[in-house]
Amino acid sequence: MAAREEKGEDALVAEIEKKITETFEVFDRESNKTVDVREIGCIVRALGCFPTEAEVQKLLEQIEVEEPGGFVHLEHFLPVMTKVLLDKRFQPIPEDVILHAFEALDENKCGYITKDDLVKHLTQGGEPFTQEEMEDMLAVALDPETDILHYRDYRIKLVVDETKTFPFNG
C-alpha cells in the first residue's frame, strides 16, 4: 500500500516539476535555464499562487540568487517551488472576498469608487502600488468618462478572463 502511495506521490511531484519548468522557461529569455530575479514573483503567480509581495520576498530568501546580475537558476528554484505547490501555499482569494474588499473601500455603499479614493487606498495602504502599477490599473479599470471604478463589473471582467484561460486547468 505504502509503495503504491509513494509511486502516486512521485508521479505527482514529476507532474508538478514539469509544470514549473515549463512556466520558468516561458520567462527564460535566453533559453539558458535562468531568469531575472525580478520575474520570480510573476512566475509564482503564473503557477496559480496568490502570494503577497512580502511572501515572494521570503520565498526568494530560500533561493540562491546568482550575482552579478541577479539571476535565478532553474535548479535552485525547482525544489522550493515544488514544495510550495505540494503544500498548496498561497491559495487564491475567493471571488466574494475580493468583492467584499472593494465594498469595504466603497464607504458610501454606492457601488463605485472614485479614482481619487482608489489611488489613495492603493498607493498608501497595504503593499502600495508603484506609480506604474496604479496607472495601469486605472487605465483598464476606470470608466474613462466619469473616472469611476464600478467594481462589480471590473472584478467580473478580470475573473472571467482568467478562469477562461487558466492554464494547467483540469
Partner: protein
C-alpha cells in the same frame, strides 16, 4: 514572520481599510502576472513559427528556376547603411534619362520632385506619405537611380565620426512599419548632417508579394503605394533598380573606430578586413550558385535535426567564393547568446550563436568597444547582453500584433554612451487577448498543416487504441513533430480536450479546424500540403506571374506544382492536382487568380469570427 508582524502593527493605527487594500493589490498583481505569462507565451509562439518559416524559405532557395534576386528583394536586405550622406552628394547628373522617357501627367497631384533634392523636397515627400498620396513612378526611378549612384561610392564598411555632430541615432529592424519610422522622425528629427542616422537592416517586410512599401532611407527615398500611375514597364524597372540598389548597400558601419554596427552579429571567423575588400554587389550572384550546394547539405542536416553545419570537404568543391558567402551570412544571421563559444544557429539555418568570448576576441582584434546589432525581436525594443558590449536594437513596434511590443532607437553621444528611446505607435497597448488569439491562430494553422504526422506520433503513444494519451505524451508528440519548443502543457487547454481522468483526447486537436473554403475535389493530404507550403507557393507564383496580373494559367500552375512537390519529395497523384486546379478556376477562363487560391488555404477555426471584407 517578523516582516508580516511589523506591517500589521503599522496598519493597526491607520485606516481600517488597509487590510483590504492588500487583498486588492494581491489579486491585481496575480492578474497582471497571468496576463504577462499569456503575453510571453504568445510572443514565443510567434517567434518560433517565424524562425521555422525562415528556415523553410532558405530551403526554397535552391530550386533551379528560382531567382535568388527575388528572395533578396523580399528576404535579405539585412545591411546597415549610413543615412546622412544625402543632400550634398545629390548635386550633379540627376537621372535625366527618366525625365525624357517618362512623362508625369497634369492630373497627378502627388509631390513633384526636382533633382538635386532639397530639404523642401524631403518634407514634401513625408507630408505626402503621411497623407497617403501617391508618388509617381518616374520620381521613384529617379530617386533609386540617384541612391544607387551615391551608394556605389561608399565602401563596404562605412566610418562615421561623432566629432561632426552631437549625437548619432541608430535604428534597428523596421519591417515595413512606416508608422514607426514617421514616429521616430517626429520624436528625433529628420536625418541631416547635424542629425545623422544609421538604419540597421530589415527595412521591408518579409514575404510581401507586391512592392508596396519602400521605406524612407538613404536620403529620404520614399516608399509608397504605387498603383494607377505605374505602367507595367515601370514595375519591372523599379524592381530591377531596387534589387541593384540593395546590392549596393554597405555591409557595416563603424563609429569613432569603436562602435561596430551590423545587422545580425559575428562569428569566430569574422574578418572585417576581408569584408571591407570584397565586391559586395557581386555577392548575391555568388550566393545563388553557392546556395545550391550548401542547402543540399543543409537540408539533410535539417531533416536529421542535428543543425546547420559547415559543409565537409568531401561532398562540396573547395571554393574561395564560399568564404565570402560565409562571412556575409555570419554578419547577417548570427545571434548573441550568453554561453561561450560559437555554434551553428539552428533556429535560423544560417550564421551562428556567438558567446561573450567571441565578442571579446573580436573587440580585442579590432580595438572595439561596442557592437550594435538588430535582427532579433525584443519586447522592450532593445536588449543589452555580453556584459554591456552587445546591444540589440529593434525598431518595429507592435511587430506581431497590436500591443505586442515596444520599438526603440539608440542615441550615441561623443562619449559613446548609449541612450535608449522607446515608443509604441498604437494606443492599444497590452491587448493581450488580441495578441494571444492571433498567436494561437498561427499555431493552429501549423497544427493543421502537420496533421498526418501528428496523428502518427499520437498513435505511437496510444498503445491500446483508445484515442487518449497522457498530457506528457501529448506534449512530447507535439514537440517532436512541430519542433517549436513551446510550453505545450500551458497551451493544452487551448488546443485539445482533456477527459476527467486527466487524459488528452488527441483527435480533438483537429476538431473545429477546417479550410476557409471547402475544396471538394482535394484529397485531405493534398490540402494539408498546400496549407503547409502556402508561403513558399506565394513566392513561386509571384515569380511566374511576370506581368503582375495576379493570374497564372492552369498549365503554369500544374507544372509549378509538380516541380515543387517532386523537389520536396512529396507524393501527390497527378489527377488530383488536375481536379484541384479545375475546381479553383471559378470562372472557367483557364486562369487562376492565385490570391484567391492562397486564401482558400487559410485555416479557420470554427469559433473565429469571420472577418468582414
Amino acid at each position: 514572520l517578523t516582516c508580516i508582524t511589523n506591517s500589521k502593527k503599522k496598519n493597526s493605527h491607520s485606516d481600517s481599510t488597509h487590510p483590504t487594500a492588500i487583498l486588492i493589490q494581491k489579486w491585481y498583481r496575480f492578474t497582471m502576472a497571468r496576463l504577462e505569462m499569456r503575453r510571453r507565451y504568445s510572443l514565443s509562439i510567434f517567434q518560433s513559427i517565424e524562425y521555422a518559416d525562415e528556415q523553410d524559405q532558405l530551403q526554397v532557395c535552391d530550386l533551379p528556376f528560382f531567382l535568388f534576386n527575388y528572395t533578396a528583394v523580399n528576404n535579405t536586405f539585412l545591411f546597415a547603411v549610413a543615412g546622412n550622406q544625402g543632400y550634398r552628394k545629390l548635386n550633379c547628373s540627376p537621372a535625366k534619362k527618366f525625365e525624357k522617357k517618362i512623362a508625369v501627367p497634369d492630373s497627378y497631384y502627388g509631390p513633384r520632385l526636382s533633382f538635386p533634392l532639397t530639404v523642401e523636397d524631403a518634407n514634401a515627400l513625408l507630408h505626402a506619405f503621411r497623407n497617403e498620396q501617391l508618388l509617381h513612378a518616374r520620381y521613384v526611378l529617379q530617386l533609386l537611380s540617384e541612391t544607387r549612384r551615391v551608394l556605389k561610392e561608399m565602401p563596404n564598411i562605412t566610418h562615421l565620426s561623432t566629432s561632426y555632430s552631437k549625437e548619432i541615432t541608430v535604428c534597428g529592424d523596421l519591417h515595413g512599419n512606416l508608422d514607426d519610422l514617421l514616429l521616430i522622425f517626429y520624436k528625433n528629427g529628420l536625418p541631416s548632417e547635424q542629425n545623422p542616422y544609421v538604419f540597421n537592416g530589415d527595412f521591408v517586410d518579409r514575404g510581401k508579394n507586391s512592392m508596396e512599401i519602400l521605406i524612407i532611407l538613404f536620403i529620404l527615398g520614399v516608399g509608397q503605394e504605387i498603383s494607377e500611375y505605374i505602367l507595367q514597364d515601370h514595375w519591372k524597372q523599379i524592381l530591377s533598380l531596387l534589387r541593384d540598389v540593395f546590392s549596393w548597400l554597405p555591409l557595416a558601419t563603424i563609429i569613432d573606430s569603436k562602435v561596430l554596427i551590423l545587422h545580425g552579429g559575428i562569428s569566430d571567423t569574422t574578418d572585417l578586413d576581408f569584408l571591407n575588400a570584397l565586391e559586395r554587389n557581386k555577392v548575391r550572384d555568388h550566393i545563388h550558385v553557392r546556395v545550391i550546394f550548401q542547402h543540399v547539405a543543409g537540408k539533410i542536416q535539417h531533416i536529421s535535426a542535428s543543425g546547420f553545419t559547415e559543409p565537409s570537404g568531401s561532398n562540396l568543391p573547395p571554393d574561395p567564393a564560399l568564404k565570402e558567402w560565409k562571412q556575409i551570412l555570419d554578419i547577417l544571421w548570427s545571434d548573441p547568446r550568453s554561453q561561450n563559444g560559437c555554434t551553428p544557429n539552428k533556429c535560423r539555418g544560417g550564421g551562428c550563436y556567438f558567446g561573450p568570448d567571441v565578442t571579446a576576441k573580436l573587440f580585442e582584434r579590432y580595438n572595439l568597444k561596442m557592437l550594435i546589432r538588430s535582427h532579433e525581436f525584443k519586447p522592450e525594443g532593445y536588449e543589452i547582453s555580453h556584459d554591456g558590449k552587445v546591444i540589440t536594437i529593434f525598431s518595429a513596434s507592435n511587430y506581431y500584433e497590436e500591443g505586442s511590443n515596444r520599438g526603440a532607437y539608440i542615441k550615441l553621444n561623443p562619449e559613446l554612451t548609449p541612450r535608449f528611446v522607446q515608443y509604441q505607435v498604437s494606443k492599444l497597448t497590452r491587448r493581450v487577448g488580441t495578441i494571444e488569439s492571433s498567436a494561437l491562430k498561427s499555431l493552429r494553422e501549423k497544427i493543421y498543416a502537420h496533421r498526418s504526422e501528428l496523428i502518427s506520433a499520437f498513435a505511437q503513444y496510444d498503445t491500446n487504441g483508445t484515442g487518449r494519451i497522457s498530457v506528457n505524451d501529448w506534449a512530447a508528440a507535439m514537440e517532436s513533430v512541430l519542433q517549436l519548443e513551446l510550453p505545450w502543457r500551458m497551451l493544452r487547454s487551448q488546443l485539445a480536450q482533456m477527459n476527467p481522468d486527466g487524459e488528452v483526447d488527441f483527435m480533438s486537436c483537429f476538431y473545429d479546424l477546417k479550410m476557409g473554403q471547402p475544396i471538394k475535389e482535394a484529397q485531405p493530404a493534398l490540402a494539408e500540403t498546400l496549407c503547409r507550403y502556402r508561403k513558399d507557393l506565394e513566392i513561386i507564383f509571384n515569380i511566374i506571374d511576370k506581368d503582375h496580373s495576379g493570374l497564372i494559367s492552369l498549365e503554369e500552375f500544374s507544372q509549378t506544382w509538380r516541380l515543387f512537390t517532386s523537389h520536396l519529395g512529396i507524393d501527390i497523384q497527378d489527377d488530383s492536382i488536375d481536379k484541384l486546379v479545375l475546381s479553383i478556376d471559378y470562372n472557367k477562363d483557364g486562369h487562376i487568380d492565385f490570391n484567391e487560391f492562397l486564401e482558400a488555404f487559410h485555416v479557420v477555426h470554427r469559433l473565429e469570427k469571420k472577418a468582414t471584407s
